[in-house]
Symmetry: D2
Subunit: 147 residues, 4 copies
């Protein structure tokens, strides 16, 4: 059972904006870096086409609080924690740390709720149960880590 994953990225030039800092929308791309690494670590891709029918994970809620800016070439750790596990959805908490600071500093905190879906005959997506093989590997993080 796993409840966390840590991804590290270096801020790219193309992720900055004219204010000289990482554009705020990019934190949501960083969240996915950690989420997809979490899936891979469990032996899965977020594009779960090994199941029949294939399942996907659209986002239904996303948010982020920004405390300090990230700049070009900063090293950022994205710490994913599973904050909620339902039969058809997962929620994550994300803590963003700037590693090239001593001590490291938490620069942002976010969250994401994703729903497990399959494509119906009419092409629309419908929520479905998380495949058991995957669900069995995921658990909610301890409360003290989520705080």
């Amino acid at each position: 059972m796993a409840y966390e994953f840590k991804a590290v990225r270096r801020v790219e030039f193309s992720e900055t904006d004219m204010a000289g800092i990482v554009h705020y929308a990019n934190f949501f791309r960083y969240m996915e870096t950690a989420e997809h690494g979490f899936f891979r670590e469990l032996g899965y891709s977020v594009v779960m086409d090994q199941f029949e029918p294939a399942v996907g994970w659209p986002r239904v809620h996303a948010e982020c609080d920004y405390r300090q800016p990230l700049r070009f070439e900063d090293e950022v750790e994205i710490h994913l924690l599973v904050s909620e596990k339902k039969s058809k959805s997962l929620s994550y908490r994300f803590k963003f740390y700037k590693l090239n600071a001593s001590p490291r500093v938490e620069v942002a905190r976010g969250s994401l709720t994703v729903v497990c879906v399959t494509k119906q005959a009419d092409g629309r997506m419908a929520a479905t149960h998380i495949p058991k093989a995957f669900a069995d590997k995921v658990e909610v993080a301890p409360a003290e880590l989520l705080a």
Copy 2:
């Protein structure tokens, strides 16, 4: 006094992802399209370098709830509503409508809180009062519109 702005965009190919829909992080870029149009309509740029010292508007909170996907070439209206006005910050509500549907359908709802800052002598940003000339033009939207 103004409390709203509507921007219309057509979804670009580069904004979609392999799920065939607009990548969720792009809704935060769409929010800025409406915000910056709102500023321009009031005679300002979000890069307020006409003030002395220059002021900027970093984001401190962003969130979005996704109801239905947007696809390539969909026409989307981003309706910005001022939801809160403080001495040093503004909050907006955003309602996203897919216009090429009959009737139009609300596909997402978001919010953003931005803080008015100036750069201090040490290069760090510090919150400051919203310039009066601009603040005088902005008011909170009626409660029934924000609902």
Copy 3:
């Protein structure tokens, strides 16, 4: 028969980088804005799923020469010109003009070659003839415009 299309965009904050100018990769996204507008004007989408089998238009070559920077809120015209028309591919020339300058100034020039493809039984893409109904509407621009 059509050989050109002009799209106009306003530079978005999220398209700038820490150098204060539009990130160079975004000019390639701007090219598509004009290309897809060109297709729509002819009654088509670049996602041509009305044909049987459906055809797509992957890019095989892209290039751009940058002369002057574009900045936040600049108005840019992207002028697409068809520079070559083969049985299975099209090439475009793009001229980028900054409109909020007097006189307007050409800030960049690019080109793109795209191939008409269908998906084969094994899932791979193979070049195919441009559907006649579409090809009949497209012609190469006069040499003096391409210069």
Copy 4:
């Protein structure tokens, strides 16, 4: 003296488009990943503010030829080779390899020309000599590697 650098990335979900492949504009962002890694390996940042005056490296030409698509979670090696070194500019060749194929396959090839500039008193950029300390560390790659 150095003439090459290899960066490895894993394709992110947000880098794909509705065709299920990496959007072509992102290859230009990948080129910068390798370029900036090359600079760092030599002890520099592409944002060279340690020099007086500070120098920057705007792009004046960029191009890419696409042979095969990259997909989500593919591992891509971006191999930068210095192809030309002038007093005020550098050119690179880029070879993109998909590593999770056996044998690895070259999926794209690109090039970039960047100019060393300083900001003049009037705010405009002007080409300047590459700082000697940095130039002394860079050489053109052997012809057989560039082929």
